[in-house]
């Protein structure tokens, strides 16, 4: 490996490690009542793999790569769109009784 390649790898590993620590710090504070929406929300975030799927689609220059990237884009988009919509549906339900127009502020006391 060239020194530049080693630099790149170490940088990527640093970002990876710090992001794991941030994940632990942020998530350990969430109350149990929100664990299912949280799991669903985290599930949507790994839909970021769509960025990777688009990048390999842009570089695809043979039928196999094109087929693989098409499936990857479709899979990843389903993850993103479905994930955020279903999480939003869940969170929409955490409201006070007159379920109509008021947003969730009123629930704060119970948090």
């Amino acid at each position: 490996m060239t020194p530049e390649e080693i630099d790149g790898l170490i940088q990527a590993l640093t970002v990876f490690t710090l992001a794991i620590l941030v994940g632990f710090a942020v998530i350990s504070k969430v109350p149990a009542t929100l664990h299912t929406p949280l799991m669903s929300g985290a599930n949507s975030i790994h839909g970021i793999v769509l960025v990777g799927a688009m990048i390999i689609a842009a570089a695809a220059d043979d039928p196999i790569s094109q087929a693989l990237s098409l499936v990857a884009v479709a899979f990843a988009t389903m993850n993103v769109v479905g994930g955020y919509v279903v999480t939003d549906r869940m969170l929409q339900m955490f409201r006070k009784k007159p379920a109509a127009s008021k947003p969730v502020e009123a629930d704060e006391a119970e948090a």
């Binding site: 994940g23 664990h35 929406p37 799991m39 949507s44 990237s69 990843a76 969170l91 119970e110």
Partner: protein, 475 residues
């Protein structure tokens, strides 16, 4: 700087902004008041990151050979198919079926991560050489992504009832699972040591990982699926981070690592709340899930109570605590419980709900189900908050909850020992709606049922609640 370089910098900054939005979005999910807003922020970050990627691809094409319609056709068709399916299923799914849909979204995410690695590997096979670190990340991405893909599909199938929720034990199945893991490890080491990309060996690893996902989840009981889905969610995050290393993209690494960490914590919390270790669950063969507990033995003498008698107790109580459990979720009785609670409230009864952290099919799932039935959020109490209130409560109404109410957990030496429980036995009287004297998930008798204060109303959760409502109305 050329225009392309400027665009490249802006796109990288947009990715960074997306990553920041994910972190803040997750942080805002701390509180029910800001959770929805947090999810929208996270979605906004996602849209920004994806939009920036499209701009980057466009700019690179314009700077090179011009717009490539085929690339945009692939992306457009893929987004249309995946987005359409995701939107439709997410909008139409019943909230009781939501865990299996989350599992399905997790499966496709893991599948996409694996496909990225496979595609990259095919190019490296053409090139004929690969750096060791890239090789390791690709192989890890393929293994983790493939295990997640098939494992999540099986988990989803079990929750949906397409595949039996019971632990499916194939003779020698464990050996097959261990064998598959061994094959993957040996094949991976072979690749790393030889140092050159080998398509055949990669296909062996891919096949072994796909089958491993199936044989890993099949022997696990339906009641354990939440923990499994959470674990697989964490796996997908890790696979996506590996994909980020493979294509050298920081936003994939950050978002993947975030999800990997969150899934790991959730998995641990869920397993702790059930007083089990993650390893114990993964070894499998325990936790039959719904329908497996009928007609089990009886322990101690129990007092049966009629719906009319129970209704009188409830209607003349000043405070009632409802303890909803897995049985309520399975019977989809959340609307029935709200109707009964409203009748009681009209009579001036104070009604609260005691939510055990693992009630339902996932942690917090019970809150979602009850909220869907328009039960006011402030009435839902977490275990630590409600436990002191059982002492002052006239009637505790247990609907389809078992092990989480078993006082045996306070003693040492039982399978549920040490598990945090709801102090239902402290209530002045107790009504339990249950289909039969069947044992719960832990496979032991519940001492609460033989408590002299307890009346058993044998019925399906939905039917039992409906008959109570009729009886209360008639009073």
């Amino acid at each position: 700087m050329t225009t392309l370089e400027i665009i490249d910098v802006l796109v990288r900054l947009a990715w960074l902004a997306g990553a920041v939005a994910f972190v803040i979005g997750l942080a805002r999910m701390n509180s029910p008041a800001t959770a929805r807003n947090g999810n929208l922020l996270s979605a906004g970050g996602m849209a920004l990151a994806i939009g920036a990627t499209a701009v980057l691809i466009l700019a690179e094409q314009l700077a090179g050979d011009g717009i490539d319609p085929l690339v945009w056709a692939i992306i457009g068709v893929g987004v249309a198919i995946g987005g359409g399916l995701g939107l439709y299923t997410a909008q139409t799914v019943k909230m009781t079926a939501m865990p299996q849909l989350v599992s399905l979204f997790n499966a496709v995410g893991g599948g996409a991560a694996a496909l990225i690695a496979i595609d990259d590997y095919l190019h490296l096979v053409d090139v004929g050489s690969v750096r060791l670190d890239t090789h390791v990340f690709i192989v890890l991405d393929i293994i983790i992504g493939s295990v997640t893909f098939t494992g999540s599909i099986i988990a989803s199938g079990k929750l949906q009832g397409i595949i039996s929720g019971k632990p499916i034990l194939i003779p020698g199945g464990r050996l097959v699972t261990i064998g598959l893991a061994a094959v993957s490890v040996v094949a991976a080491l072979f690749l790393f040591l030889t140092g050159s990309p080998n398509l055949a060996v990669m296909l062996v690893i891919l096949a072994a990982a796909l089958i491993f996902g199936v044989t890993m989840v099949l022997p696990i009981g339906g009641a354990d699926m939440p923990v499994v889905i959470s674990l697989l969610n964490s796996f997908t995050g890790t696979a996506v981070a590996m994909a980020g290393f493979v294509i050298e993209n920081p936003v994939l690494i950050i978002a993947g690592a975030l999800v990997g960490a969150s899934g790991a914590i959730l998995t641990k919390l869920m397993a702790d709340a059930m007083n089990r270790s993650v390893l114990n669950i993964m070894v499998g063969g325990f936790g039959g899930g719904e329908g497996t507990t009928a007609a089990a033995g009886e322990g101690g003498s129990v007092r049966e109570i009629s719906a009319d008698d129970a209704a009188i107790q409830l209607a003349y109580a000043s405070s009632v605590i409802v303890v909803p459990g897995y049985g309520l979720a399975v019977a989809q009785a959340q609307h029935a419980v709200r109707e009964l609670a409203e009748l009681l409230e009209e009579r001036g009864v104070d009604v609260k709900y005691a939510i055990h952290p693992v009630a339902g099919r996932m942690p917090g799932h019970m809150n979602v189900l009850l909220a869907e039935a328009n039960i006011p959020y402030p009435q839902l109490k977490e275990m630590e908050d409600i436990n002191p209130e059982f002492d002052r409560c006239d009637v505790a109404l247990v609907v389809g909850a078992n092990d989480v109410t078993n006082p045996a957990a306070r003693r040492a030496g039982t399978p549920v020992s040490g598990m945090p429980i709801l102090d239902v036995d402290h209530a002045k009287s107790i009504v339990v709606i249950k289909r039969s004297m069947g044992r719960g998930y832990a496979g032991i008798d519940n001492e609460l049922y033989s408590n002299p204060k307890t009346g058993m109303l044998f019925a399906d959760a939905k039917d039992g609640l409906a008959s109570l409502a009729v009886a209360v109305k008639a009073l």
